[in-house]
């Protein structure tokens, strides 16, 4: 065995030290994970209840694109759930890459979509196959309050998958202008938690029912608005000054509302 082991040891050769790129890619990925955890740690200890919706029975979610009407369109257009003719995308579409910085870096292990998300977005008849979404192209985004959100590009449209299992999809042509958001609407009538993505250099502003406006912080392309009961409207302003406004998500459908939440 000693001779055999010597031979095996010899066979291992002298592989080069990891290239500088390998160090950089791995270090960056780890630093992102560390930063995400540190952010969550700060939030957990900061006294704010940013994850309030986790303590609620949230309805699985309201597919909500900033372009209001995407959900409604799903109902009236019979072919919206038909699979994309070309199948899943093999690479993120160029227009999406140009609009979202998160797609321009290398893909790392941490970007992998959770299995539940991959299943949800590839189920036949869902929006994922219709848009040619490919879970293998997913990228992880971390919102300013530390929540995870995945952008899953597709051939004609893309989806975001949220930390609590909800997802939202829309056409790429819409996403590159207006972004995409996901609203978790608690069935007890509490205010929704909104997580979304905005294109590079865009600003996100909310307007309350009293007319006051608030600039929403972005971390990369991601943002969150957590449980604001006064929220009335969302506005995305792109780098050219164009504005895309939409109403804040309303209450859940009556039949989904918790009986205990009626007032």
């Amino acid at each position: 065995m000693t001779d055999q082991l010597t031979m095996i040891r010899h066979f291992r050769g002298e592989v080069a030290e990891p290239a500088e790129d390998a160090w950089t890619i791995a270090r960056d990925a780890l630093e992102r994970a560390i930063e995400a955890e540190r952010t969550q740690h700060r939030v957990r200890h900061g006294g704010r209840r940013v994850r309030k919706h986790r303590h609620l029975i949230a309805i699985a979610l309201l597919v909500a694109a900033l372009s209001a009407g995407i959900a409604a369109a799903a109902i009236v257009l019979p072919d919206l759930t038909a699979p994309a003719p070309g199948g899943p995308a093999t690479a993120p579409p160029r227009e999406l890459v140009e609009a979202f910085a998160v797609l321009r870096g290398a893909r790392h292990g941490a970007d992998a979509l959770p299995q539940a998300g991959a299943s949800a977005l590839t189920t036949q008849g869902s929006f994922g196959p219709h848009y040619g979404v490919n879970p293998r192209l997913s990228r992880l985004l971390i919102t300013p309050d530390g929540q995870k959100l995945w952008l899953v590009p597709g051939r004609d449209g893309s989806c975001i998958y949220g930390p609590d299992g909800g997802s939202a999809c829309a056409a790429n042509a819409s996403i590159v202008l207006e972004g995409l958001m996901l609203a978790l609407v608690p069935v007890d009538g509490a205010a929704p938690t909104i997580t979304g993505i905005a294109p590079d250099n865009a600003t996100v502003t909310t307007t309350d029912k009293d007319g006051s406006s608030h600039l929403i912080p972005l971390h990369g392309n991601a943002y969150t608005v957590s449980g604001d009961p006064h929220l009335a409207r969302f506005t995305i302003r792109d780098i050219d000054g164009r504005e895309f406004a939409s109403q804040a998500p309303g209450p859940p459908p009556a039949k989904l509302a918790s009986p205990t939440s009626s007032r």
Binding site: M1, Q4, M7, I8, R12, P18, A22, A26, G109
Partner: protein, 200 residues
Amino acid sequence: MGGVGTIETGPSTDARLVERTVDRPEEFSAIFERHFAAIHRFLARRVGNVRADDLAAQTFLTAFERRARFDPAADSARPWLFGIAVNLMHNDRRAERRLLRALMRLDATTERDPVGELELVPARLDASRDSARVASALLALDQDQRDVLLLHAWADLSYPEIASALEIPVGTVRSRLSRIRETLSTVLDEPSTPSEKEHS
């Protein structure tokens, strides 16, 4: 008599570092800097440099996410990290077999690197002379046996460390090595083929 304080003067052990990352996750970077090269080299030998880049990065991300499970009694994180790396590698079993098959075809006369696409260059030509036989021997082992053997031969882990990495009893490590010995004897002790003799 008053108590005697202790002052930590040397570098922190991995266990202490990992323990501290509970409150200070950024300290996990020290584990990365300490062990990344060894993990990457091991993976590069087994699946080639290209796959190693990705798998090595994933190894440390996985380790970071699972650091609460690290055994504080273990001084070094090496076995734990190698264990994670091996598990990740199993997700792409074909990569290693592809590399070994390529090495079996190693052309010793031209010193050409037949696995250039995998960016693995054998160290020396006299090693390449035996490459086909060794690659063939490694292919004759099953995945579990190969893990044990290569953690020992290439990662220089001790039997207890291999047991820890693969989460198997030390006795199993020994018995696997025993079976490996038999397999290697059969394959490596066979006379060289004529074509190999020409090269030798």
